[in-house]
Symmetry: C2
Subunit: 453 residues, 2 copies
Amino acid sequence: MHALLTDRYELAMLGAYLREGIAERRGVFELSLRRLPPNRRFLLVAGVDRVVRYLRDLRFTDAEVDYLRAQPDLRDVMTDAMEGYLRAFRFRGDLDAIPEGALAFEAEPILRVTASLAEAQLLETFLLGVINTETRVASKAARLVLAAEGRPVFEFGARRVDPLTAPYAGRAAYIAGCAASSCEQAGLTFGVPVSGTIAHSYVLAHVDDGEEAAFLRFAESFPEGTTLLIDTYDARRGALRAARAGSAVRAVRIDSGDLLALGRDVRRILDAAGRPDIQIIASDDLDEQRIRSLLADGAPYDAFGVGTAITLTPDAPTLGAIYKLVEIEDRRDVAVPVGKRSPGKPSTAGAKQVYRRLDERGGFVEDTVRLADEAADPHPDPEALALLVPVMRSGKLVRDLPTPAEVTREARERAARSLRSLPEALRDLGEGPSLPSPVLISPALSAMVPRGD
Amino acid sequence: MHALLTDRYELAMLGAYLREGIAERRGVFELSLRRLPPNRRFLLVAGVDRVVRYLRDLRFTDAEVDYLRAQPDLRDVMTDAMEGYLRAFRFRGDLDAIPEGALAFEAEPILRVTASLAEAQLLETFLLGVINTETRVASKAARLVLAAEGRPVFEFGARRVDPLTAPYAGRAAYIAGCAASSCEQAGLTFGVPVSGTIAHSYVLAHVDDGEEAAFLRFAESFPEGTTLLIDTYDARRGALRAARAGSAVRAVRIDSGDLLALGRDVRRILDAAGRPDIQIIASDDLDEQRIRSLLADGAPYDAFGVGTAITLTPDAPTLGAIYKLVEIEDRRDVAVPVGKRSPGKPSTAGAKQVYRRLDERGGFVEDTVRLADEAADPHPDPEALALLVPVMRSGKLVRDLPTPAEVTREARERAARSLRSLPEALRDLGEGPSLPSPVLISPALSAMVPRGD
């Protein structure tokens, strides 16, 4: 399943490793960020569950192997041995990960894969794609949730991204604290609450009778409660019509115009019409800055709908995670630290662990990245929490996997605790002063000298 | 298949349309852009083939219908009638589209769906997601291809996006003129040429013998020709080692540092080592501006590898296409134009066609958007090309679908012609003066007064 959602070079290297007889050397790869993207003071981890299920299920189908065999550029490595290797492929390595919903920062391995060189190499593209996408979305959605200060944020950015990724984006947004996603498949696959109301087309389709009739009809179809979009023609007139459409109307949504002025007017109109109970939802290309400024100005919004900002994160479209070999067995089966030295893009050698220090009330204080080998780099604080936890050992899950919906719920609960644990400075959404990094590097790790060259 | 890759509100509206008895009214929806994204002077259409196959295959599975039936918020519309409607669902409408690989601009319908209101509404989210993604990627990749001035551009941005979208991104980039994609699945599904060489990890894995031995071994595995990544430790030393690794080495890649200075030095080193035949490929977060500036400075690169810039298009992360109802039957079965009037976000009423004028050498001159009803808005120039072509009629394909690989090849050929047809001003990659729009609106279309409200 999906074995070819990978880059050609992973397969080219795998073929070379097999030919050279080094495919089974044990290696450690870590997935991390060199630095946080602009406008981010923390990451909220998401995507690990998908990685785990991928590793559990990864196989090459006959069609996939046949395709590879037919590739001229792979001719010299696609031997019978490699074909046999691919047909028998199972992930048999170890996975350690920072759990979904936990905070992470630059320089911290989010995933650590310890496996044969060939296996660990092959995974690179898929693991990066998943974490780069889901952690990016969750980290951004968390900012929206913080900006909304307790008001619900509805994610409805499916239409801005490839439809196949929309359920995962909806899940990541829900983990981060969004109240719901618009994407039905996020509901079916992950148990994410799904919500949505009407589009302008619904109002336009009632060309015979106009907006007021459209509102009445829609409210009749949803007598248990619904939200009406009121700006197809004129939001103020729409508000009055919504107020008259009966008690099923629980909220109105405004999707254009001067959201501050309109929000105030619509609130007045609804109140004057005897409907102070109707809530107002704002949308229209909102991001955390705009939500914060609306709330700071006292705009009377009860909830926010956010699309593009969550699923495409235009202020930081790429997370930029990397997946690097940090340790490899040499020919005497001794694990040695390795790292590249490319200018501006060095990698830090050695398998790592991250220790988190919290204050007495559970507030985040700081992280220290250390060598994973505790004998070589013991942590002085026995209370510090080791963030990377064992997920798979020798290809087997350390715990039975709960359902996707259960895993998602757990991650959401962890994320809520994570956001509560953030100190004021790290919650800052962008205009605050730049901060020293909350990540320390242990002296032993700093002193690592990679072998090689 | 994938019927729930849609937003909740599409299903809520569908349910309401059915209850109200207006689901079968014929409507026309158009997918277009209000304006081009920043830094774009044209779009290159991609994604239509996927839309077509989706419309051909769209069905609701039992699990999907059961899930919808269990949703509390849909309780009052998920009647037996709606359940029956979903179980029997087939797309039976018409699709007109600008073909993949053709140029498009703002205000032009890329897709036009003419179908029952219920059907056409349901499609909104998926169609937007696909075109917003694939046309965004193809339009950006075309800029990279133009910047490279005939040198190959290799797309390798799979790791930056959700793995499930990577094959589609690889396809869109290939349509736009990229030489190959790194994504294996793009090869298997769409016949896109796939390429790739080694990562830094390959060199690091040869910790016993170092980079030179790694290069020799890799060249032995790929005697027909390969590319070596030379900046793991030091690109200049790497170049010399690559030059010594035998005739299988056809190219080297530099992925970090001062690409101008390094490129020149590496060229000199290779030439001095008697290997003027070895080509040099640049990568490292390249975009069209950086490629153009490298080439303007005479950097001796023969090809470029581009990841993030193509798949995530950070300079314009969202295409912002919209899908709007422009015409609907009223209760007397008369089709009437409709459009919303939301401030700053109005939609243009009336079903449309786009006519393209070319000069005698096939160069693009201008487009005119007119009413699709030729009797109401005849085009004065019989030579002008109608861009939207019939793809489906009453749910049936107008022509048998070639294989995905054949469709992709056709689109790539059309894209090459499209890019050749661009006048100098539209090829400009960003620093030129702002231009008048190449899109005219016919007087009859401008004069349309939408009904409603």
